[in-house]
Amino acid sequence: MSELFPRKQIMGFVFSLVLTAAALTVYFLHLSFAQGMAVLLITAFVQALLQLVVFMHAGETKDKWIIYGKVYFMIAMALITVFGTLLIFLWDM
């Protein structure tokens, strides 16, 4: 019976609900802007990774390095874009 029970998926679902609730506290707890953004950013990225690994089955096939490779590439490019924009508009404007 235990091998039929989708333990991983149930755990993932519960954890994603917890992450959503944690993000929601930013609204109710009147955090400062920096604290609020920190909570939102962390929960958002963990949530995205959770969805990718648990529910979109990344890492379950032999060619998982392709999927992860693309994810790392995209994350690197996104970070470059964000920090480059900050450099242009905030740190050196």
Partner: protein
Amino acid sequence: MDFFDRFAIPNPSIAIYASMVAIGLTVVAIIAGLTYFKKWGYLWREWLTTVDHKRIGIMYLISALIMLFRGGVDAIMLRAQLAVPDNKLLDPQHYNEVFSTHGVIMVMFMAMPFIFAFMNYVVPLQIGARDVAFPRLNALSFWLFFFGAMLFNISFVIGGSPDAGWTSYFPLAGNDLSPHVGTNYYMMAIQISGIGSLMTGINMITTIFKMRAPGMTLMKMPMFTWSVLVTNLIIVTVFPVITVALAMGTMDRLFGTHFFATTNGGMDMLWANLFWVWGHPEVYILILPAFGLYSEIISTFSGRNLYGYKSMVASMVIISALSCMVWAHHFFTMGQGALANSFFSITTMMIAVPTGVKIFNWLFTLWKGKIRFTVPMLYSLGFIPLFVIGGVTGVMLAMSAADYQYHNTMFLVAHFHNTIIPGVVFAMLAGLTYYWPKMFGFMLNERIGKWAFWLLSIGFCLAFFPMYITGLDGQARRMYTYSEATGYGPLNMLSFVGAGVMAISFALIVYNVYYSVRYSPRNIGADPWDARSLEWATHTPVPEYNFAIEPHVASSEAFWDAKKKGHELFPGKVEKIHMPNSSGVPFIMSAIFFVFGFSMIFSLWIPAIISLIGIFACMAHRSFENDHGRYISVKEIEETETKLRGVN
């Protein structure tokens, strides 16, 4: 009548009324022709509903050529207006609209479909696949592009064209300074076709990673396939940025938000930033498949394998990463400090290194080769020196201090045309000539093709080299006229003559198609160029299933090895083949997208909501549809094979 006033052209002229009549007559002629020759059913069954990558590729190709004509007419109008000082041919508003649409059409609706045409047609053949990974999605990509392009093209007869440049910078593109609907067209049309491009990106990456023939490891893929893989990786990385930027711009214009406004916490410079985060990688999206085509062509017509395969792959991967780190060089003069400008200067100059590696690899491929001067080869050989000039002036522009002199002058215009025309347009025309026999079963006439090449190259030099000089003398881009005292007159006249020569060359290419349809021999076999990669190993015309037996590959030039070294390309026997079914849903869904875009542009909310529901209904239909494709039986395959083999 108030309702219909919004569709009126804000700045009508005789030229626009004439185009309205011309468009009306063309539509009537097409409908009448299809009805008279009873081709509606054929059109629907064989083309509008097809999911075959080869037919989709050909439709991309036809669209690209039509858009090349439209963008070319725009270019001639621009050069005619600037040919003499104080010219009155176009009024300033009309000039603004023409240069804006020229840029958008050439980049989004000419160059993009041109590269998609070759991606679609060639990549599955080159990797020995039966189709792309998601054939239905592929059809949707094409029709989204097509209806986006049509939406953009009706702007100049209904409501007015965008006039804020192809970059459409805010605040100029905002409601205050661009009150008429033109910029709405820009936002919606690029959005719709951009979604299609993003889908193609996902589709091609999956196809290349998952559907290669047995034995074809990543490092045994032909160079064009490699370039397409890297290109689509960039597409998937950066197209979401333009999607979001366009959505924000649309909300600014239609719903009164202030993302790019100068008031209420908006930031107009953020548009320029987001636009170029997408826009700079976009030019590499255009040039990398061109590099791939050149690699195939140069290696075929030198009779040699490509020099430095690994360094070619490495340089493309490095270019793809660097291309996302240089965007600020488009606005060095916007006001950021020396540190930011220096950073982006250096990354920009670094791109010259991998590009230089590629240039040397092509030269070494030519070295001691048995070179055949065919038309595709002429374009490739013309590309090398002309593109180097464009690259060197690019490094000049990359120096941020010096850029204050070049910025927004004709020097810049000369530079990017100098990279895009010999880089992309030459590659597309070379690819067109090279793959024409595979697509249509006969070759284009070499003699006329060579005339077209020489006229295009000479016309190009005449048209754009003078702009380097007038640019350094201070002629600004996007100015509709200049006074005689500036002294720009003679060189601009020379540019106009060059543009005319390029137009003659385009006419020759069209004539070449007509001439070759009538007179070219049809018994050319499957491999007329004595080529090297897998797409030439199947029959001409290519059967629906591409390869009767799955090819087995042991090198990046499998077909060459099969011809010269006796490598067994098709071991095994014919088995039944699983193929996808045709579907009309992509066409219908994209047509609804067109209605949606049009309604949004004119703020017609009720039709916009209804068509949005229609779009979701199409997606729901797909989700619940039970379509397992169909099988082609062994008997049918063997009949087709016998028939096609008879030709050879």
